[in-house]
């Protein structure tokens, strides 16, 4: 495959979003890859399954110390990336992990997958990146 040619990238994102800046790194990486024409699948496991809950809504709760400021939720950011991808970004959420955490109400832009579907995703990818640990 020629250097710079569009690739199929699988990104495995695990771990809780409140432990480090992995989520910021992931979303920036995904957007940069979309901008370069790549196709991506993001597979979330563990605490990462909570960032796309429908119940998060588009914004974080108001900041009592700065009530006029609005802060986007993680769900809104993922939705914006999926929309921007126009079919080139699929965001999968591990059913086992989300059920374990009660994060069963996922937003419409993501797809809930049984754990064993990860292997076909791996087979279809040119590149696989693992971000974080469960």
């Amino acid at each position: 495959m020629a250097a710079g040619a569009p690739r199929a990238i699988l990104v495995l994102y695990m771990g809780a979003p409140y432990e480090s800046d992995l989520l910021a790194t992931l979303l920036r990486l995904v957007e940069a890859a979309l901008d370069r024409g790549h196709r991506l699948v993001v597979w979330t496991c563990g605490g990462a399954t909570t960032v796309t809950q429908r119940t998060l809504g588009p914004a974080k709760p108001r900041n009592p110390l700065a009530v006029a400021q609005r802060y986007p939720s993680t769900a809104r950011l993922v939705k914006a990336l999926v929309d921007k991808g126009a079919g080139r970004l699929r965001w999968y959420v591990c059913r086992q992990c989300l059920e374990e955490r009660g994060a069963v109400e996922q937003m419409a832009e993501v797809t809930v997958k049984a754990p064993f579907h990860f292997l076909p995703c791996l087979d279809e990818a040119d590149v696989c990146l693992s971000v974080g640990v469960k």
């Binding site: 409140y18 480090s20 989520l23 920036r28 110390l65 400021q69 809104r76 950011l77």
Partner: protein, 127 residues
């Protein structure tokens, strides 16, 4: 009146997207404004929270502006509201910082000071 609580922070940068405004210094400032007596001891990488003149690069995701956590403003807010902020000197050294690099009003302490510091507060929280 002595402060009631000393909060010890060691783990820094817990997720800019998850936190945005709701980081640990924001929580402590909120408690302070509600009347709680709050002091903070910054250790490890959390000593960077007290650095003066921190840059706040904008973060945009798919055209959406994400307000970054403002740790320096959190430290300044604690000090302006009557709180105290301490930083361990050994941690500053490990980060290549010295006292002049810190926000005005932050107090540098040594390991030998920690026992006395702990005994000055009714509660010590490890956050």
């Amino acid at each position: 009146m002595k402060a009631q609580v000393l909060a010890v922070l060691e783990r820094a940068y817990r997720g800019a997207l998850e936190e945005q405004y709701a980081h640990v210094l924001w929580m402590l400032l909120s408690l302070l404004r509600l009347g709680g007596g709050i002091a903070v001891l910054l250790r490890g990488n959390a000593a960077l929270y007290a650095r003066r003149g921190q840059a706040w690069p904008a973060l945009d995701v798919a055209g959406i502006r994400v307000p970054p956590p403002e740790y320096e403003a959190g430290v300044a807010g604690l000090l302006e509201t009557g709180g105290s902020v301490f930083v361990m000197d050994a941690d500053l050294g490990a980060l290549g910082l010295t006292a002049p690099d810190l926000c005005a009003g932050v107090t540098v302490v040594t390991r030998d000071d920690v026992g006395r510091l702990f005994s000055s507060y009714a509660s010590v929280w490890y956050l």
